[in-house]
Symmetry: C2
């Protein structure tokens, strides 16, 4: 039977350090932690998860819940979260929860196989989420916030992002503007729409209902909605899409009709996923600072795990309009100052 003493000897560290690594302490340098873990594997040391959890109450593992990993935004966000967790000496496990909304992850938290959870796609209908927060479980929201839920939340100012796009499009002379709204539930989609809609109205060019398409966050739905919009007698001259995936669908809808972007129609997305900078799309979009957001969320969650009684914090990051080739004008001061 291999003991932690053997591991310590093999790794050339004290038994206390081995114990700290097992407890997921952030006081161990990454290099030392790697050496201890390597020694554990090499020696065949098998800490008993159950016994360890009971003893230390820490697994150094954080669960992350995501609703749709086939939307390329989420793999990028998860990569950033994984990096932030790694920097903090924590491991990441993922739950992709298209239907169940993270029920399995909440079970794992209750069972103690993870120390805390980051929800990236929470909505008001996420089953069990509000209940778990109320019971004091360490849970933080990243990307999608939830009004009225008393837990740590890291988001971007999606209202300001929507407003910035309205300013940009009206400031460059557009008046017939289309909008591909996202689904109703996510706060991100609702806030982007509110900012965009309110600012357009303030600028004297309120959104026209027939130029608004409502649907899911999918490429296919967006492509088909854009084909409908562009086939109208009075097609929009610019289309704003509530996320990048749908903006790529909008570009492809235009391409499928033989239209050119931006000569025939401008397209603007939201998120700044890697693909938007690829030559075939070269998409104007609104950038979320996902590396900074991820680090902030990890920091808040780890602080919460250490102290469940600290007051919940909401951190909202600014976002930034990134102008590329899918639009043909530079941002201008808009007609109306606010």
């Amino acid at each position: 039977m291999v003991t932690s003493r053997d591991v310590a000897r093999l790794a050339g560290v004290s038994q206390m350090t081995v114990s700290r690594v097992l407890q997921g302490s952030t006081k161990v340098a990454a290099g030392t932690r790697d050496r201890v873990l390597a020694a554990m594997r090499e020696s065949g040391y098998q800490p008993n998860a159950a016994a360890r959890t009971m003893r230390t109450r820490r697994t150094a593992t954080i669960g992350v819940v995501v609703a749709d990993i086939t939307n390329p935004f989420y793999p990028q966000l998860l990569e950033a979260v994984g990096r932030a967790l790694g920097e903090a000496g924590q491991r990441m496990v993922l739950w992709n929860a298209p239907d169940s909304g993270g029920t399995s992850a909440l079970e794992a938290l209750d069972e103690g196989t993870v120390d805390g959870l980051l929800f990236t796609t929470a909505t008001e209908t996420s089953p069990g989420l509000a209940d778990a927060v109320e019971r004091g479980q360490p849970i933080a929201l990243l990307h999608r916030g939830l009004d009225g839920l008393d837990c740590d939340q890291v988001t971007t100012d999606n209202v300001a992002g929507g407003r910035a796009v309205a300013d940009y499009l009206v400031g460059t002379g557009h008046t017939r503007i289309g909008f591909l709204a996202g689904p109703d539930l996510p706060a991100t989609a609702r806030h982007r729409e509110r900012g965009f809609r309110d600012r357009l109205a303030e600028l004297g060019h309120p959104l026209a209902d027939p130029l608004v398409a409502r649907g899911g966050f999918s490429h296919d739905v967006a492509r088909s909605a854009t084909r409908d919009l562009l086939s109208r007698q009075d097609p929009p001259t610019a289309v704003f899409c509530a996320n990048d995936l749908t903006a790529l669908g909008a570009v492809d809808g235009a391409v499928s009709l033989g239209k050119r972007v931006p000569a025939d129609v401008w397209v603007v997305g939201y998120d700044d996923i890697a693909m938007t900078s690829w030559d075939s799309y070269d998409l104007t979009t609104v950038r979320q600072p996902i590396a900074d957001m991820s680090r902030a969320a990890v920091r808040l969650l780890l602080a919460r795990i250490d102290d469940r009684d600290r007051p919940a914090r909401v951190e909202e990051f600014p976002c930034e309009l990134v102008v590329r080739g899918s639009t043909a004008g530079t941002p201008q001061p808009s007609a109306v100052d606010t």
Copy 2:
């Protein structure tokens, strides 16, 4: 203290059924399982993971290891695996292991928080993998196989896929053919290259070294390599890429030089990710049957968990050339029959 008896009463099932759900038995209908899980949550029942694992030795949770979720192929594969696991009454947890190669997942398996592991991106250097297989841990490989590793493996015939592309390009008249090879380690990349290279040689048009670019599986590297190829005095008339992500990079490299695909250069990818069918790319590629492969891998892994002594099986699925707009010819019988 809520007991499993309370859960059974609330769900309207027998205590045996509750126990079966806890054990991850496949004998419980999905609807019943959902009802029991809902009752557990509603009643606040907290099975002790440790005690439960010791009692039943089953968590009904399978870990899946992936190396790069930002390559869109993997989210699609994970979605298919998640669906196959759901059909089998199993939960999925994911490890994204760009550096550590699944060490954390292997630890979770040793500790009993998952019942088995599916590796989707195994290579000969995956740390601890061969050792864990040797110790009899339930591990199956999906997508990337490993010669000489005695475990269940589900792959596609990547050699045949590479050969099919060679037949297609030579059969449509190409003789100056470029190749963007993948990294050296993954069996998928090596087998695709071997099939493509051998078949081109058999057909009398061996690959010319200067037309082969070797690099990682990234869009940026592929874009830049393609720009180099197409800037030559004698540019290739067609480029085969070892996966779709790099083929999208090759198209963008051509676009960035003002070249048209397929008028100036044909591009062929491999995998058939969703994006290849989008209008802006419309990419000819080789399709892997990921839904069938995922179900096969889940079936083999669950059988292995039930019986660790059964002989390991290797299942190899056929793949299929899908011709789209990035090439301009229909497949023809090639000049040389084999």
